[in-house]
Amino acid sequence: MQKIIEVKGLKKSFKQNQVLKGVDFHVYKGKIFALLGSNGAGKTTCVRILSTLTKADGGSAAICGHDVFKEADNVRGCISLTGQYAAVDEILTGRENLYLIGELKHLPDFRKQTEKLLSLINLEDAADRRVLEYSGGMRRRLDIAMSLMGKPQVIFLDEPTTGLDPQNRIVMWDMIARLAENGTTILLTTQYLEEAEYLADHIAILHNGIITAEGSPEELKKILPIGEISLEFMNSTDADKARGLLEGYPLKAGRKIIEVSTNGSASQLTDILNRINDGGLTISRFTQNQPSLEDAFLTLIGEKGGKNE
């Protein structure tokens, strides 16, 4: 498989603030790659360097076989960027925004592409209204459509779903997944593990300026504490009893709630529920805890947080 993005030892500081301390990763052609990181991790910085907007201090990066630092113009010809904040012209209409990009890219068929994109993002009805009147979700969709003009080989999406409601988020996910089916390579950044898991073929976690972990969602799942469940009982006596019954499992007990860490397998789950049942206790509420990104980091970088102790 062809590596279409290759990043080695990428470094960037803003004055004293070392944001990227040596980032390495690569992306294969036609795949969806997710760069996962919390606020301020350096995701945007990374994407801006790769899309030739910001200069790096060190390291190397190549896209479509072109050196990002030395052949910026060639790189621009093969990528497109959807930044974290919608880069649309509010005074122009949706259609005019698309025309503008099509003309600047000198596409002979930009009108035809515009119509196709408008239907892809489901914005045909609003196409001739000024973007000023669009909702956040509509702007975001237009923003992405502008990036799709000219069918670039590589697309950067910086937090494409931040600020969207759950329904629009699903629509966006579908759209991104369909792009990848057509052979476009996508590098997206996100703060949500869930989103990376759903969309990406490969996930890299950016933390403290380096990639602390990477792999397919399945590979990452194995190292993430995903099997935490929480059991709520009628009263603290029951909860105490249950704690005795669950000997052997790492757990954290509250007054009426017990949080148990499992390996996520069905057999462990059955075992736990059986033990409680056999002890004659009733669970008033059962929930499976979604691991937060914070948990993931803590596990990955080996700083045992208080949560599982």
Partner: protein, 253 residues
């Protein structure tokens, strides 16, 4: 080269659509010259009298320059808006000719100022402006005005590039208007106190206004035309170099 031209044209078209979408701004740009002419011509015309001049004839060059400054000010704001919103990143990440962004704004600004200058002359004629200039004089007048407009445009582009926010922009642009007041626009500098007089005599607005006045009304001229041309061309070169430098350094942060 042809890419630079076509990209600049596309960017200019964008600015043109945006300008035409704000009818208030367009109307104001046309109405303000009329108001200024009427205000200065009738209100102050009654109390101010300048020997040997019809006051309306006297103030036309100053009003023209003031309207050009007003019209250019809008350019600062649109450059600033584009630079501070994400749209500039989008333009940069596609292979657009480097000069296209700025030249689109410059073209728009120059053309808008030319239209407003014509409108201001129209307003002046309506309230009794009667120049004596012949065809040759009008050619020189047009040349000076176009150079002045280009010079102002580069200055306001710089203001748009360096300003932090819209308030700062309107503050700095107000200074341009003050420059017009502290010149020979509304009264001969000889009537001003010493400090202001020295300032008025050595700033670019005065020779431009004196040259225009001489050409329009046929009053005697020494070397005002040459000084005006030197100022305008100097400002154009200075503004161009500085604007390009600032633009480039902003982009390679």
């Amino acid at each position: 080269m042809s890419k630079a031209i076509s990209d600049s044209y596309i960017m200019f078209k964008r600015c043109l659509i945006k300008t035409s979408r704000s009818p208030e701004a367009v109307t104001m740009a046309i109405v303000v010259p009329f108001i200024m002419m009427v205000l200065f011509g009738y209100v102050f015309g009654g109390i101010a009298s300048i020997e040997g001049f019809n006051y309306i004839n006297f103030i036309v060059p100053g009003i023209i320059l003031q309207c050009i400054c007003n019209s250019s000010a809008a350019t600062s704001l649109s450059v600033h808006n584009d630079m501070s919103k994400g749209i500039i990143d989008r333009f940069r990440s596609i292979q657009i000719a480097k000069s296209a962004f700025i030249s689109g704004h410059v073209w728009m600004s120059v053309i808008r100022s030319i239209v407003i200058t014509i409108a201001t002359f129209g307003a002046a004629f309506m309230i009794g402006f009667r120049p004596t200039a012949g065809f040759a004089e009008w050619l020189v007048i047009s040349g000076i005005l176009i150079l002045f407009i280009i010079a102002m445009t580069w200055l306001v582009v710089i203001i748009g590039l360096v300003s932090k926010d819209a308030e700062a922009i309107s503050g700095i642009n107000f200074l341009l208007v003050v420059f017009v007041f502290l010149s020979s626009a509304f009264a001969p500098p000889e009537t001003l106190p010493t400090v202001l007089r020295v300032f008025a005599k050595h700033q670019p607005m005065t020779p431009v206004i004196d040259a225009l006045r001489g050409l329009l009304l046929g009053t005697p001229l020494e070397n005002e035309i040459e000084i005006a041309l030197i100022w305008c061309i100097g400002l154009i070169v200075f503004g161009f170099v500085l604007a390009v430098h600032i633009y480039k350094s902003k982009l390679t942060k």
